[in-house]
Symmetry: D3
Subunit: 192 residues, 6 copies
């Protein structure tokens, strides 16, 4: 089954629900591996937080570019693989941002512009699927007061909503192609 | 990557080489999961025999319909899965044969017509791919003297080479669809 | 541990609970891989539905032949394997039905008689076990109004409760033998 | 398939061949998971050495109690699991030796009596099976000159060949039961 | 990441919560694979019981030495592996107890002194981690009336709290070294 | 076991041997997961080629910066994981090169400077370990005539051997930290 990218034209709040298994199927009838993108705020319900180190933190932003990835190809699902794919997604995004003259530093799954946090990300699994969320601040409004944050629009005046959607599409397509190219490489490899 | 079926229009002897990993890539530049079919004799070199219980047997036939399946989707490759898929392939073939009024009995991976052996099959793995061979006697010539064998043409006078190719194509397509439908079912399933 | 078959002589409603992990252990003290069969109605509680595409459907029937399979052999449990085994179970049942002159068409995990739906089936997993439910209509009563259904008794006048129990026993035994024969085949296979 | 123990009444040299996959099937027609024991010398051919750190060492002894274990239950085979089982086998043997008043120290997979090496052991895998070899010196003759070794007969005067066979049988049976009891425990466990 | 041992100097009741995933992280900010020990009572809430065969039993003791192990190295987590490690932990403990002149019999994951039960243990998994609990009676008080129990202090008059803590530390260190030595052995092994 | 980086100060030809399992152990007594780097030519023996699509190609260069990675953490080894890690290594290298004002384009596992090929890479597995080779042209001499190639020294005049070693060290350290950070993230993640 080919992995699908779909951009949602709705102002959906990221409350932590989209990282639940089969969210794309339940909400948008998208079956199989997929990457769903949209622009919207983030305010996560405390009981939806996936990172045990974040449970007492406020995780919020008024406007973010969101990516939700779900993979069904590895059975049983593998959290280690999920985090490798998350890193690859973040690295591709960093690459795409450089095309917009936005230069980031990556530490693990976080992107920074001049030490100000640009993104949030997490991966998780069920026994049958791997999920990744990646969110990038579009504006600096509504981010936590105790964290220095940066945003796409603050770092490139030319970035409007249309260009952000293009960034998300380019990133999603490259990510899908990357996973596909790995499958091709597997099939050409002599093993011992 | 979509699984591919290709029928070879050449009279290729099955000598045990086609079950080796990446045979379809090395010989026919077919990359990724595939099912390759052809009509030809079978005479396996002793050192190519996969079944440890068969190493002292003659495995041969003058004319067989051959299927070679290779799967790269499960990493690492899993011999248990390979044998489950082999069973599904044999069961689909049995079903297709009934459309040609050829009624078989299946025991494990063997098909019989009135207790005469119609087919041979084996599965194996490397760390990265799963392979299945399935061969069906087309004529009774050239089969081992100490085994009672049956064949497609002996059991249905109307079966010519064209209809055997159709049988192989129908079986291959249904097999590919079956594996595909399993992937779809995985993606619709709530787990605990 | 040998896989066990047990037929329950009780009119148990399939409400979705039996597909939960360790149901056979909790309710009937049957430990290890097993296939449990019984005859009874089906009316699934909405929150017990496993198929995300069925959550808004009525899934019901007044009298069904039920199979519940649980496997603990693959650790961690693998939903892809669970669906391969489900297919094998359905294919064996289709074969057994032909012995009762009931001729079915199979599409994925569904059996049809002349395009009328005979069966329902689903597979699922926990991290430690694989589960399959398969239910076959015995009578046509109580099935959903918006689906054309068929049933065992409507297609063979001679099928009484005793013969349906025999059908379930034969199917269960062949399924257990199939899984066992795969384990034997694994142990005879030369790998690369 | 139940795991089998078989004791060979032949003076077989351990040359490194028995740890190869399917050795029990090829040589003794024993199919499936098994533990094979015998008493014989050990002189390993250099190209059969499994431990990369031992390739320049002499590994030899004139009389050893040998255990060869093969497991087919985990697919694909897992070297980490193989070494866990090896440790369990060595620990059970240590326990059994204490019943013969032979008190050992275990370090990893080695047993020592007063810092003199009593045993050798290694595990390995193919894609489809896990193998373990464990050998215990019966006499001190023929062991390498540069290693201080100990032996069963040197530490208990009452140990004759008959009692050594009993030791091997008891150890093998307890090992088989241990693996079996783990399968039972898996099936009784609530998971999260 | 190196596996960590930490002894808690608090009289914590084992109510079944510590076997939940990431308990060490949530309660003690210990991230990664770890073994946590403490001395305290045990009274498990009924809905926290992991062993389906124990759900109607009282599981309690006034004073126990507790071990909670969590492993993140195998992804996805594997209940079979968890039970192999549990056995290894119990075997190491039995060995350490013999240094204190306490001689036990082990049956599966239970230790007995003269047929009186000394310990309780269970393993479980989530998709991402493996957990083991092992508890040893320090005193006989507060154990269930219908089970004959034994305890450390009843079998060795010299065992005080300090020596029990030493026992827990020695056992934990040996367990960590054991797992580490298996990783080293994996890396020295020629495979087929 | 902590993953190790070692730079070899010898002019070693990459002939295809270093990608074989346990090469670092056999040649340099480095046990466990490692990344070995050196500067030297590349001329691969035809029978050592891992990429089935390259078997008829000349793969050579007079001076390359070589990385050989081996991982033992995933058991059984997983070729899909190996290729994900290869991609991460190549992406980190691309990032490090930008610090030297060398701007690359990445396509799968290849780096290009203005459409001229800078690097070669492959991954492979045995049942117990994952291996990656990555080589970067230092000079353009000795590369195949039918491929347009680029090199480090041709694109940055300031790059001498010392700075190339620094590039290799920085890349290796960041890679090791990346894999380590993924292990940390696994341990902080709530799963479903």
């Amino acid at each position: 089954m080919k992995m699908l990218h779909k951009h949602l034209n709705e102002n959906l709040n990221y409350d932590g629900t989209p990282i639940e298994p089969a969210w794309a199927l339940k909400e948008y009838s998208i079956k199989g591996s997929s990457i769903i993108t949209w622009i919207g705020p983030m305010l996560i319900k405390k009981d939806k937080i996936i990172d045990y180190e974040d449970v007492d933190l406020e995780i919020k932003s008024d406007a973010m570019a969101h990516f939700i990835v779900e993979h069904f190809d590895c059975q049983p699902a593998d959290l280690r693989m999920a985090y490798h794919r998350q890193r690859i997604l973040v690295m591709i995004l960093k690459d795409e941002l450089s095309n917009w003259n936005i230069s980031c530093i990556r530490k693990g799954d976080d992107l920074y512009i001049n030490s100000a946090k640009l993104s949030v990300s997490i991966a998780t699994v069920t026994p049958s699927s791997m999920k990744v969320h990646l969110g990038i601040n579009i504006k600096n409004q509504g981010t936590p007061h105790d964290v220095e944050t940066s945003s796409l629009m603050d770092n490139n005046q030319d970035m409007d909503m249309k260009s952000i959607i293009k960034l998300m599409e380019d990133t999603s397509k490259r990510y899908i192609n990357e996973i596909y190219s790995i499958e091709e490489d597997i099939a050409k490899t002599r093993i011992f």
